[in-house]
């Protein structure tokens, strides 16, 4: 074979190898990022996985897994996102990427209503890192969800002191925070068993306890009417009518009312926490 052809072949082969390698690393990462930026999260997740598959560099794999987890989160697949992030070996990673991954893990835990796990991941992030600015708000929201209001309040005040750009704004927001975290304003935890027991003794009382007085009154009136009807019928010697149409129907409304009260307690607890955290988010946005 001609020496020139051999030379060309060798050059092209080496170029091909290095080009393929480069494409599979930074090139593909930018392709995946492009897909992510254009909101094609499903396709982006595949491209990130491809990078992780083709790469042998631990940091590149971690970056790809992080991108994949973000793509999953944007598709509301929080468990899948966590699964990806749990597969990343953190000890060998440099700090910015390590913190980002820990934050992402915490965020997915928070979105899955696993606030204790979220706090656990957040505590692993070093406070000195600039990523802290993003970490503290999530920590406050997680602390609220975990009903550790004192700690959340202190963290929010510290965050305000560190981040507020002028004293007037700081004073005004501090007053808002104090009012928000006042005892009367804190979201309450309505216990399902307590609501059920209230309705067991007084039909409708469980609904009133769960902050649904309208439903409570309807339940009370309905059960009361059925009891009176049942007693009235039996009093007048209509035993079967009293038993069937009075107490028979009342049994259903009475037991249904207890279940309803328990469900309302659960929903109300969740709704109050969502509203409270929404108010906290508004304050954090004002601080920023």
């Amino acid at each position: 074979m001609n020496i020139v052809i051999k030379y060309y072949l060798t050059c092209i082969f080496l170029c091909g190898i290095s080009l393929t390698d480069a494409l599979s690393q930074e090139g593909e990462l930018s392709k995946a990022n492009r897909l992510f930026d254009s909101q094609q999260y499903f396709e982006a997740a595949i491209e990130y996985e491809r990078i992780a598959f083709n790469s042998s560099d631990a940091e590149m794999i971690a970056r790809a897994k992080y991108g994949k987890a973000l793509s999953h989160r944007y598709q509301n697949k929080f468990s899948k996102a966590l699964h990806e992030l749990n597969g990343v070996f953190l000890p060998t990673l440099n700090n910015p990427l390590r913190s980002k991954i820990l934050y992402e893990k915490a965020l997915n835990h928070y979105l899955l209503d696993q606030e204790q796990e979220a706090l656990w991941e957040l505590n692993k992030i070093k406070n000195s890192h600039p990523h802290t600015r993003k970490v503290i708000p999530l920590k406050i929201l997680s602390l609220n969800k975990a009903r550790k209001f004192d700690k959340a309040y202190k963290t929010l005040i510290t965050f305000l002191q560190e981040e507020a750009d002028n004293d007037q704004k700081m004073m005004s927001l501090a007053t808002d925070i104090q009012a928000l975290y006042s005892k009367d304003n804190l979201p309450k935890a309505y216990k399902e068993q307590v609501a059920r027991d209230w309705s067991r003794f007084i039909p409708g009382a469980g609904q009133i306890y769960s902050k649904h007085p309208g439903e409570g009154m309807i339940s009370l009136l309905l059960n009361g009417a059925l009891i009176i009807f049942g007693i009235h019928q039996i009093w007048n010697a209509y035993y079967f009518t009293g038993y069937m149409a009075g107490f028979g129907v009342m049994y259903k409304t009475y037991t249904g009312g207890m279940t309803n009260a328990a469900n309302l307690a659960k929903t109300q607890t969740h709704n109050e926490m969502v509203t409270f955290n929404q108010q906290v988010i508004s304050i954090i946005q004002e601080i920023n």
């Binding site: 060309y8 209509y238 079967f240 009518t241 149409a245």
Partner: protein, 279 residues
């Protein structure tokens, strides 16, 4: 000209390398249970007609992913296209046949099974026997199961189960909806008892009897023209007729449940040997 030719020659292996990498990546996706992603990539890639090995691999991976995603009909379609030269041809076709059986395309399933008759003969006869049992062709079922070596570890337990299902199915006498209706007309709830729904039978009896007594009580004390007698009478009539109609439905539902239960049992036992042999 020579340089152009040289460049083209160099591109061919690079293209091949890229395709190979792609196939490896799809295989990796399948192995990590990312089936939706695998199907997405396969659908995006061109399935070559001339490169049989690559074509077969892509079709198999697509069929397998769809099977895992429980999209059985399209899975069978992809798996059936795997050519005989592929090492995973028997697996593809046996699973295609199973998918078709599961989706009640029995005729097609039989055709697909006949393509792999020469591979795993015992499994072939076992699957054919199962298909026949699902169609309640007991003669064909016996013929095929007798041809299979039922002492073969992969099918021995399941073959015994199929024999027992066949016995139950053969001896099963369907419940009569008409008899259930008559029974419920005479004694409310008894039709449901006959259909095997004992809990429902007791509830029905209590409700109809309760409204009957309430109606009788009101009729006895207030007379037929009183609105309460009419109201409770109407309720009694509604529950009484509902009890008869309900008994007819209960027998039909009980039959469907019986059929469904045995169909699932048979399909389950047809599936286990496939996983044992091919995984």
């Amino acid at each position: 000209m020579n340089r152009m030719l040289l460049f083209t020659i160099m591109l061919v292996p690079m293209w091949g390398f890229s395709q190979e990498t792609d196939l490896r990546f799809i295989d990796h996706l399948v192995k990590t249970d990312a089936f939706e992603e695998a199907v997405f990539l396969i659908d995006k890639s061109v399935i070559p007609e001339n490169d049989t090995a690559r074509r077969d691999s892509l079709l198999f991976l697509k069929g397998w992913s769809l099977y895992r995603l429980k999209q059985l009909r399209p899975s069978a379609k992809a798996l059936q296209k795997v050519s005989e030269s592929a090492p995973f041809y028997p697996k593809s076709h046996y699973f295609a046949a199973y998918n078709l059986t599961y989706t009640s395309h029995y005729k097609e399933a039989k055709t697909v099974l006949s393509n792999v008759k020469k591979y795993h003969k015992d499994l072939y006869h076992f699957q054919k026997a199962g298909l026949s049992l699902l169609q309640k062709d007991y003669e064909d079922f016996n013929t095929h199961l007798q041809k299979a070596d039922t002492s073969f570890y992969a099918i021995s337990k399941e073959a015994a189960s199929l024999y027992s299902y066949a016995k139950t199915l053969r001896e099963h006498r369907p419940k009569s909806p008409a008899l259930a209706a008559v029974m419920s007309a005479v004694l409310p709830g008894s039709g449901k008892w006959y259909a095997g729904k004992k809990g429902q039978a007791i509830t029905t009896f209590m409700t109809v009897a309760g409204f009957g007594l309430v109606t009788f009580e009101n009729y006895n004390k207030r007379g037929i023209k009183d609105f309460r007698t009419m109201l409770f009478g109407a309720l009694f009539a509604a529950f009484y007729s509902g009890n008869i109609i309900g008994s007819v439905s209960a027998t039909k539902i009980a039959e469907q449940e019986f059929e469904h239960e045995y169909r699932n049992k048979i399909l389950f036992d047809l599936h286990i040997p496939l996983r044992n042999i091919f995984n």
